[in-house]
């Protein structure tokens, strides 16, 4: 029973087991109780891994390495689990956001709650699996495992335009996933390593790198495949649409964690395996990210009148920063991106959570019909303001360090682009603060007063406070102790074997 002591496998198996038990017809009361375990165990596993990461001996940068055979050993496919310094912070992120989203979902009173929780648990298992997999095949596999429930949750439990949104998301994301799958297969076949194991692939390609042209083509394929998944402009239109329609827990998990898969794939797979492919693309990537994601989408975000749409667009915009860090092509920039991914995951999940809390009280997402919520719900207002500050990147919150590192790295790459990118900070301050002002402060609008008269506005309940608190505490903790995740990231990106890959030559 040695697998019971493997925290990585447990973090995947526990939610799946609970989902299975619910699916086999557990009564609702027990389903709900077990669901707490299904979301709690991954978080505990993640914290365990975090705690022990620095203390355990690392094997090619990984800890908790374990190999489980699934029958395709002849192809070099196997469930190989392990985390390195890049995967570990994201693994913890998945545990934290999953726990918060799960807690919120359990108490959300959604229709057909059992099936909703089941899908969410499958998604959670997939998310943990993504960051625990060393095998590239299973990396992809777990991504899809997490993605499919998203489509169903958007389609069934979604809000406005749910069917159209689910359809658009499915087709866009399938396209992105297929492109990246082909890229991964190409690396597998061309490397001659006969293995999907990332460590084996890396040593094979370090010993005998692919030709420069092949690297450039494959990197392009992966960049656009993964890029679609991360809403790289102009392939972003699924994101605000999907998030606008998605039920809040699904939006939290997708925008917070699952979307990071594309960036993670680029950092963990594409850059180290195809180091000569990146420079050829970095310039076009930087231009797309600055002018597309940051400036154009930033302006579009400012024009949004719908709160949830605005958060959706803002997450597209913030992904621009992440792409800029990648384009900067230095170990510092890459480390900044990983840091930023964690910070953004926490803050955007918090925003989606609070947006739904606002919606419960105002019965609308239209910001024109809100106002003055702070008078009636001061705790909600405090949380919301903090989340907006985090999202803008104020010091004290985790986002600040991520953005700072990215901008410093970008400065060394191109000063002009940095200037253009920094306008994004102003833009996000404008829309963030304006949203807070419209929703929370000022005089209540007539529409809001009508709603409030029909169902009295209460402050944040405990079932909403605890998930929000989990996320906010994590944001502040990392903001004040950036070393807690910067150290493992640093170990991974500045290791001698990795330095060449991330330095962009």
């Amino acid at each position: 029973m040695s697998f019971l002591t493997d925290p990585l496998l447990m973090s995947i198996a526990a939610p799946l087991a609970v989902a299975l038990a619910i699916g086999l017809g557990l009564p609702k009361r027990w389903s709900v109780r077990l669901a707490y375990a299904g979301f709690g165990v991954p978080l505990l596993c993640a914290l365990h891994v975090w705690w022990h990461f620095g203390k355990l001996p690392r094997e090619s940068g990984y800890v908790f390495l374990r190999d489980y055979s699934t029958g395709l050993d002849n192809l070099g496919i196997g469930l190989k689990l392990g985390v390195n310094g890049i995967a570990m912070p994201l693994f913890v992120l998945a545990g934290l956001v999953g726990f918060a989203a799960g807690l919120y979902a359990i108490r959300s009173g959604a229709e057909r709650l059992k099936i909703y929780l089941m899908l969410l648990l499958v998604m959670q298992a997939g998310l943990m699996g993504i960051f625990a997999s060393v095998d590239v095949f299973f990396l992809y596999f777990f991504h899809e495992l997490a993605l499919i429930p998203t489509f169903i949750m958007v389609g069934v439990w979604g809000g406005r335009d749910r069917t159209y949104a689910a359809m658009t998301m499915t087709i866009y994301l399938t396209l992105g996933a297929m492109l990246s799958l082909i890229g991964l297969i190409a690396i597998y076949v061309k490397s001659g390593a006969h293995s999907f194991d990332l460590i084996a692939l890396r040593s094979a390609l370090d010993a005998q790198p692919l030709g420069a042209l092949a690297q450039r083509h494959l990197f392009g394929l992966l960049l656009f495949g993964f890029g679609i998944l991360v809403s790289l402009w102009p392939f972003h239109s699924w994101a605000p649409l999907g998030y606008g329609a998605a039920p809040s827990s699904a939006a939290m998990l997708h925008a917070g964690v699952l979307k990071k898969f594309g960036l993670y794939g680029l950092i963990q797979v594409a850059l180290p395996l195809l180091p000569d492919g990146a420079p050829a693309w970095s310039h076009s990537l930087a231009v797309l990210a600055v002018f597309g994601n940051v400036v154009v989408i930033g302006l579009v975000t400012m024009a949004q009148k719908d709160l949830k749409q605005m958060i959706g667009f803002s997450s597209v915009m913030h992904m621009g920063y992440a792409f800029l860090g990648l384009a900067a092509g230095s170990a510092f920039g890459i480390g900044g991106v990983v840091f930023f991914m964690v910070a953004h995951g926490l803050s955007v999940a918090l925003l989606f959570l609070l947006a739904t809390c606002v919606h419960h009280r105002t019965q609308t997402f239209a910001m024109d019909e809100m106002g003055g919520l702070a008078q009636k719900a001061p705790v909600l207002a405090a949380f919301f303001t903090a989340a907006v500050f985090a999202s803008i990147g104020l010091p004290g919150f985790a986002n600040f360090w991520g953005e700072l590192a990215i901008f410093v790295a970008l400065w060394h790459y191109s000063a002009a682009l940095t200037v253009a990118a920094v306008t994004g900070v102003v833009i996000s301050a404008v829309y963030g603060l304006r949203a807070a002002a419209r929703v929370l402060f000022g005089e209540p609008t007539a529409a809001f007063l009508q709603v409030a008269a029909r169902n009295p506005v209460e402050d944040l309940r405990w079932s909403e406070r605890i998930p929000a608190l989990v996320l906010l505490v994590a944001l502040l903790f990392i903001g004040f102790f950036p070393r807690s995740i910067a150290r493992p990231i640093n170990l991974a990106v500045s290791a001698p074997s990795a330095a060449a890959a991330y330095a962009g030559r």
């Binding site: 699934t70 029958g71 395709l72 050993d73 002849n74 192809l75 469930l79 099936i115 095949f137 992809y140 596999f141 899809e144 495992l145 499919i148 489509f151 169903i152 389609g155 069934v156 749910r162 069917t163 689910a166 359809m167 499915t170 087709i171 399938t174 396209l175 297929m178 492109l179 799958l181 082909i182 297969i185 190409a186 597998y188 076949v189």
Partner: protein
């Protein structure tokens, strides 16, 4: 001819080698006898007996999988037994068991004779087994005709229904045409291989080995090339590959649903078993011709199948055309098998995943259909997941697996085919296949959307869908097992994976 010749011939007739086929044939005859012997009220047990008998054959096959005649020839070289052949035997028994299970549900809604249906299904399954193991062009043709004639009857089984008769007629005409093409191709090959003026001419040109030896000596002979193309055309009819797929939508729609499943799964798989056998054992010296022909066919099949399926509202037509696109993906694997060692295993895995997923979907379809079997529209599925979560879940797993979504078996099938295609450097075909997968998501998702996202229209507002059949115990177990197998095979292939990727 003296007695010793007969003795020699008889020594080659190793009947024990074809015991599964014999057992199915005897069972088929026994069903007819039982109908005469048993009193009328006991007739309803006959389908159960048919299914139980087949399960016994299946178990015996699995127990003796590696034993007996594997790796040998029987009947003086008419048949050749291999592990792949054993695998296909299992495949066809499993298909016919499932077809019988579906038929129990489906035929109950029609006023039709029952016993003959099971009889013919068993005979066709036995003939498919022989087809997959044939080692001789005469054997190939005879087995193929047995399959096809049996299917002519099955397709037009619902004699009272006009669409069924139309389907039967179309299938008859198209099937006859394809048989004629195949036969003409065989005759050309035989004629040219028997020409003593050519090097390597063969006295036993009907046998695969004799033909292969001749083609190896004359890989660029014009008449032989025409013969090969005609044989491939004949096989392409069976698998529903472009440009020989035109019969599929109408025939699939008109045929009773269990027969559609039989056509879609077993008949297609038999075609691919034949194609793989012919390609690797006979036509390989002419790979210069076969590979481009099959590549073009694969590309066109994927494009046509997916684009044509996009606009369908009748689910039987939809699954028929999606089956065309699956034939394209499988052809991609066959093409890749010219240079990739993985490809043959990938094709077999794909076929298995396709069987599991298709029968899950067809199983749901038989429960959805009313008395008019050809009237199965997407709108009828509205609200299915709400009213019957079990059927909804089985449908979602089946369609997801057909669409190739992880963690389901269909994804592994596509993945293995794509890896082998990449190993064979078929980049353009891969690009087309990727496009095909993305397009296919749209129509599979449309079906799932109908079942899961659309609310059922209240009665009286044009929601005149047929009454759904409640799921019985046997069908429920079978559907649950199919869905479970689709899920498990998606991430754990175990010994099967080791065997196929050897």
């Amino acid at each position: 001819m003296d007695v010793s010749t007969l003795q020699h011939l008889a020594a080659g007739n190793t009947w024990g080698a074809i015991w599964p086929e014999m057992a199915l044939g005897c069972l088929a005859l026994a069903l007819l006898a039982l109908e005469i012997v048993l009193p009328r009220p006991a007739h309803r047990h006959i389908p159960t007996i048919a299914i139980a008998g087949q399960i016994a054959v299946l178990l015996a096959l699995l127990l003796g999988f590696h034993g007996g005649y594997v790796g040998r020839e029987s009947f003086n070289g008419l048949l050749r037994h291999s592990t792949a052949g054993q695998g296909m035997r299992v495949y066809f028994v499993v298909s016919s068991i499932l077809v019988c299970l579906l038929a129990r549900v489906s035929l109950a809604k029609q006023a039709m004779p029952r016993v003959e249906f099971y009889h013919i299904v068993l005979v066709v399954a036995a003939a498919m087994m022989l087809l997959a193991q044939s080692n001789h062009f005469i054997m190939l043709f005879v087995a193929l005709e047995t399959v096809t004639v049996g299917l002519y009857i099955l397709v037009s089984y619902g004699r009272q229904s006009a669409p069924t008769l139309e389907a039967g007629f179309k299938y008859l005409v198209m099937g006859a045409l394809s048989s004629a093409l195949l036969l003409f191709g065989i005759v050309l090959l035989y004629g040219v291989a028997g020409n003593p003026a050519l090097p390597g001419h063969s006295v036993s040109a009907f046998s695969y080995d004799g033909m292969a030896a001749f083609l190896a000596a004359n890989p660029h002979n014009f008449l032989a090339s025409v013969g090969i193309v005609l044989v491939l055309a004949g096989v392409a009819f069976k698998i529903g590959a472009f440009p020989f797929q035109i019969w599929i939508p109408d025939v699939y729609q008109g045929a009773p649903t269990p027969v559609t499943a039989f056509l879609a799964v077993a008949s297609k798989a038999a075609g691919f078993a034949v194609l793989l056998g012919l390609f690797h054992r006979v036509f390989f010296p002419c790979a210069w011709l076969v590979v481009p022909v099959l590549s073009l066919m694969a590309a066109a099949t994927i494009v046509f199948g997916n684009l044509a399926a996009l606009t369908q509202h009748n689910v039987k037509r939809l699954i028929g055309l999606s089956g065309v696109s699956h034939a394209g993906f499988l052809l991609l694997g066959v093409v890749a098998s010219a240079s990739s060692a993985l490809a043959v295993g990938a094709v077999y895995f794909y076929l298995l995943a396709y069987l599991l997923a298709s029968f899950a979907v067809f199983g749901v379809m038989t429960h959805m259909a009313g008395a008019d079997d050809s009237d199965q529209e997407l709108e009828h599925y509205a609200g299915l997941a709400m009213d019957n979560p079990f059927l909804g879940a089985v449908l979602a797993v089946g369609l997801g697996s057909l669409a190739g979504i992880p963690p389901l078996a269909g994804f592994m099938g596509k993945f293995l085919v794509f890896v082998s295609a990449f190993q064979a450097h078929l980049y353009w075909l891969l690009a087309i296949a990727i496009g095909g997968v993305v397009v296919s998501i749209y129509y599979y998702f449309g079906w799932i959307r109908a079942a899961f996202f659309d609310a059922a229209r209240p009665a009286g507002e044009g929601a005149n869908r047929p009454e759904r059949t409640p799921v019985g115990a046997a069908a429920g177990i079978a559907l649950g097992a199919l869905a479970l197998a689709s899920i498990v095979l998606g991430f754990y292939q175990g010994p099967l994976g080791r065997w196929l990727t050897w």
